[in-house]
Structures are given as structure tokens and as C-alpha cells.
Symmetry: C2
Subunit: 346 residues, 2 copies
């Protein structure tokens, strides 16, 4: 008794101290379907607090047959895009007696599947899959199967952006946003564009690129094949891609990077090479990441309400109903013109 005081205090300890049975103690603490006398209940509550009783969530989950754990799987928690979504999910979960578990796949698709399996092992109530799906058929098929397993075992799955999964999905309107942005830039007077794109396998990046091209086309502007440069979906990817473009910078009016961090990298490359933004070249991004709102010149971009995206995903989890057909919630982006582009008077 003196050495290892291991082993937490259990409901039985509480019951013994209050001089009641397990059943009564449980009923007093959870206030379940049946009432327990006020005097006894108070005795149990006092015993619990004086013993610092914390119910064993594992045992509760097993006895009840369900958990209140929601898993959130993102690609990279250090990326402000995903951390904003995560913040939105967690804020929405506040007050709903739910424990949010966050997993970061470090951009490896097979980890994503592993995490869904692990969360199924936890008997999680739900999984939220955030992030642009890699367009690898094998991995996509494996994920689809595991999602099915997860749902078969009683959980609900919600996706963000992953349009190809047959589950409730929060769709970010990347294509429409990029289209709107293209239109706004053409109206400013820009005509000769280039795009810093990311791997075509990333659906988000691809949608933005295609949307941008469509937007230009509907205004009578065409994008040449040389005008699309590919690089990783990161700051350094934008930097390198922009460097490849600088040799012919004088042929260009404006560069669109498919996300803000790439745009910031591109801006750094421009600065290093004496290309002034926006005087020599316009520059636009996508996302409106709040920590990047203070770069100078301020970035023209498409604002995405990422916290709302997370909150919406959580709402889909709460209101999930397996009898209902698949639901889709669309989140629109909004073009924000700032100092990295200007009105052109040709």
C-alpha cells in the first residue's frame, strides 16, 4: 500500500466509500434513465470528488459500445492551411463532449490509411479526412476500401476536398475561385499570364490551375503550354518555379501561384532578381493564409474561410445519418485584390 499506489481509483472505490453499490454509484454520476435519491447521490458525488475519481473512458466506451472520439487526419499540421482547418474543427467540437484526435500523415498516403485503421481500432465515432487526395489509383482504392470498413463497423466518415470518396464531403470551390480570380485579373488589364502549378496529382492544385485557365479563356485569354511551370506545393517550390520563369519575365504581365505559400516563395525570387511586384509583374496566390497577410506587397489572393471549412466538417459529423444520402457542403472563395497586383493602363 505504501510503495506502488498504482492503479487509478475506480467506480468501485467510489461506491465503497459512499457505502452504496456499483449500480447506484454509476447512476448517481451519469444521471441515466433512473433517478437516485438526493441524499445518496450527494454522498456518491462527494466520495467521487474527494477521491479525484475520473471514470475510465475505455471501460465506459466498451460498456456503452460507442466512443466520443473524432479523428482528424491532415497532411501536415505545420502547414497553416491545415492548422486553420484543425482549429475550426476543434472550436466547433467545443462543448459537444467530444475528444478530437489529430493525426498528421506527413503527406504520405499510406499513412492516411494506417491512421484510419488505427481510428477504427479505437472505435472512433467519426473520421474527418482533410486534404487534397493524391491521385494515385492504388492508394485511392485502398483508402476507399478502408473507409468502407470504417463505416461498416459503425463509424461515420467526412471528407474535405476528397471528392472521389462516397461520403459526406465539404467541397472547397477551388475551380470557381480560380476562375473568378482570373476574371478579376483580366479586368485589371493583365493579359500575359503564367501559372506556378504543383504536381498534377494533387487535385486541389490541378483544380485551381484548370479553373484559372477556364477563367482566362472565357475572357478571351489563352495560356500557352510554356506558361505553366510545375513545382512542389511549398514555399520553396514556388521559389524554384519562379526562378525558372524569370528569364522571360519581360514577356509576362502577371503570375498566379496555386497557393499563397508558393506565391510568397515566388515573391522572394522576384525580389532577389530585381523584379518589382507589382510594378514589373503582378502576383497572385490562393487561400489567404492569415499569417501571410503581412507580406509586402500584400498578396492578391482568393480568401478561403478555412475555420468554417473545419466547422462545417464537424457539423456533418454531428448530423450524420446513415440512412440519408451523401451530402455535400460547398464553400466558396472570395477574390481579394491587394497590392501585389495593380490596375494596368496599357
Amino acid at each position: 500500500m505504501t510503495d506502488q499506489h498504482r492503479g487509478s481509483v475506480t467506480l468501485m472505490d467510489v461506491a465503497a466509500r459512499a457505502g452504496v453499490s456499483l449500480a447506484t454509484a454509476s447512476r448517481a454520476l451519469n444521471g441515466s434513465n433512473r433517478r437516485v435519491g438526493d441524499a445518496l447521490r450527494q454522498r456518491v458525488l462527494d466520495a467521487a470528488t474527494s477521491l479525484n475519481y475520473a471514470p475510465n473512458a475505455q471501460a465506459q466506451a466498451m460498456a456503452r459500445g460507442k466512443t466520443n472520439v473524432v479523428g482528424l487526419v491532415v497532411h501536415d499540421i505545420a502547414d497553416p492551411y491545415f492548422s486553420s482547418i484543425a482549429a475550426g474543427v476543434m472550436e466547433a467540437a467545443e462543448g459537444h463532449e467530444v475528444l478530437v484526435t489529430l493525426a498528421s500523415t506527413l503527406r504520405r498516403p499510406e499513412r492516411e490509411i494506417d491512421y484510419v485503421v488505427a481510428l477504427r481500432g479505437q472505435r472512433s465515432r467519426a473520421v474527418i479526412l482533410a486534404g487534397s487526395r493524391i491521385d494515385d489509383d492504388d492508394a485511392a482504392e485502398a483508402l476507399r476500401r478502408e473507409v468502407e470498413n470504417f463505416e461498416d463497423s459503425g463509424g461515420t466518415v467526412v471528407a474535405i476536398t476528397q471528392k472521389q470518396l462516397p461520403v459526406d464531403t465539404v467541397v472547397i470551390e477551388n475551380r470557381a475561385g480560380a476562375r473568378d480570380l482570373a476574371g478579376a485579373l483580366v479586368e485589371l488589364g493583365y493579359r500575359r499570364f503564367a501559372v506556378l502549378a504543383a504536381s498534377d496529382a494533387l487535385l486541389t492544385a490541378r483544380d485551381r490551375m484548370h479553373g484559372f485557365r477556364e477563367g482566362l479563356r472565357s475572357h478571351g485569354v489563352e495560356l500557352g503550354s510554356d506558361d505553366v511551370v510545375y513545382g512542389p506545393f511549398t514555399r520553396d517550390g514556388g521559389y524554384e518555379a519562379m526562378r525558372g520563369l524569370l528569364s522571360r519575365a519581360d514577356e509576362l504581365d502577371c503570375v498566379f501561384a496555386v497557393n499563397d505559400v508558393m506565391a510568397v516563395g515566388a515573391m522572394a525570387a522576384c525580389r532577389e532578381h530585381g523584379v518589382r511586384v507589382p510594378d514589373d509583374l503582378g502576383l497572385a496566390g490562393f487561400d489567404d493564409i492569415s499569417t501571410l497577410r503581412d507580406v509586402n506587397p500584400a498578396l492578391t489572393t482568393v480568401r478561403l474561410p478555412l475555420e468554417t471549412v473545419g466547422a462545417t466538417a464537424f457539423d456533418l459529423v454531428l448530423t450524420s445519418d446513415s440512412r440519408e444520402r451523401i451530402r455535400t457542403r460547398r464553400i466558396k472563395g472570395e477574390v481579394v485584390l491587394r497590392q501585389s497586383t495593380r490596375t494596368l493602363n496599357p
Copy 2:
């Protein structure tokens, strides 16, 4: 059988399909102390995969009496400071058969305590408390008590920065870093300083402020009481605090903001009021947040290896040993001089 196929597949299902008993199935899957014949084991493994068996982690945890869940409690996951630490923890956890649960307190101390209780309920193996402790005696005492409960029930607690808790701690040398920064700035020729500080209740902010003052003093420079302005620990806090300082900007050489996001806000305020950085005023921050590395002019700051901080915390969890006395791991910052300060020739 057709409608609700609820209820996951259990170990019993696997055993039945393989034609063995529960015990044998368990032994075959976990490879525990005793061996099971190769033929039978293969039968069990095949049954498991063909049924998509995922062991119920709750039940395992209860049977084993311990979990492999590690809880990470941060103040705000959308803050890059914390998301970098979180990324470090998760990367370190990779391959250690551990599930990391992330909780975000939204900067409310009572939520921090709630989460520790919840994690105790989960019978988590460990909790990592990240973030500058609010200097509220009542809350600190309550947290200390709850940490004690957590350890009594068999878990380990690791703190980041929270020096006042009697647990293994990763200490970020805020004071020394700020001291070094002050020295470097004085050597550049700056003499008339101001500090954008945050609430004194935040130990991190206070340490940086005090360290900066000490560094100045050791170089014969004093900081007047008017020269310290307080604001929230955020971008907008820095913006507002700087605005309050701009009326007397011509009396100043250099402004130190106690973290990068405040410095970025301050830079925006300067820009709006035509104060040029670094020509009219030097500006320095703290943290070297990577997403802020591209502001222009680039920020002089103190680089903290935040991923290393997270990884170190996780290492303390893994190597924890209750018999050992409290360990402390110190993480040093490194002064990085960039374009937001310059050499002064008075």
C-alpha cells in the same frame, strides 16, 4: 443480417473462422509469451485479414491496463509556434506505436485542466503540456494538483516551458536568447530601445522582456518604464502596441517585439505611418516562425528550433522513469540578424 451489419468484427469472429479458441487467436496475433504452431497461426492471420479485423483498442487497453495514447495540450493550434511544436512531437512519435491526441485550449487555462482530466480518463500514457503558463496562482495550483493526480494514476507528464511544474521539462531559453539579441542589437549601434511586451502573466513574454532588459543593461543601456508597451500576444496586439508608440517614434532607434507575430503587426503599423524599417527604425522579433520568414524587410529575430522542442518532449515521454529525479532539457535560441535591422553609424 442484411440491414444493420453494425458491430465490428471481434477476436471471437476471427477465432471462429479459423476454428480455434480465443486464446489461441490472441496469441497468434500478438505473438505474446507463448508460441503457437505455424500452421494454426497462419490460419488465424488469414482469417483476420480476410475479415478486416482491427483489434478493439479500448478492450486491449483495458485488458492490458495501459494505453499507448499520448496527449498534447497546446494553447492554439492555429498559431504557428504551437503547430511547429506539434509537428515535432508527431514526427518523433512516428514508428513508436503511439497515438498522439491533440487538444487546443484556446488560451483558456481552465480548459487545460479539463483536458488533463479527460486524458486521465482515457488512461493516457502521457501528457505533454505545451505553452506558456498563465501566471494565475489559483489556476496554477489547480493544474499542479491535477498533474499530481495524473501521475498518481500511472501516467507521465512532460512540460514545455512551464517551469513551475514538478515534472520533466523542456526549457526554452527565452531569457538568454533575448539577452543575446539585446547584445547583438547594441553592437549594431542601437541605443534607444522600446519593447512591445505581452501580458506579464505570460511567462514566456515576461522572460523575453526581462532578458532583453538584462542584455541591454549589461551593455550599459537602460530601458525606461515608458519604453515598454503591453498588448496581446498576437499580430493585432503588436499592431496596436506599435501604434501607441509611433507618436514618439523619432525618439527611438529600435523596437523589440517579444515574438514574431507581434513584430509583423508592428511592421504593418510602421508601414502605414510612413516609418521605414530599418531606415527610420530597427525592428526585431523572436521565434523565427518559418511562415513569416518572407516578410519584407526580413525580420531580425531569435531562431528557436521548435520541431526539436517537440521531439525532445516526446523523447522525455519515452524515456520517462518515475524513480528518476526531474529532468530538464534546455533548448537554446540563436540570434539571426536580417534586414529589419542594420548597422548604425551614429
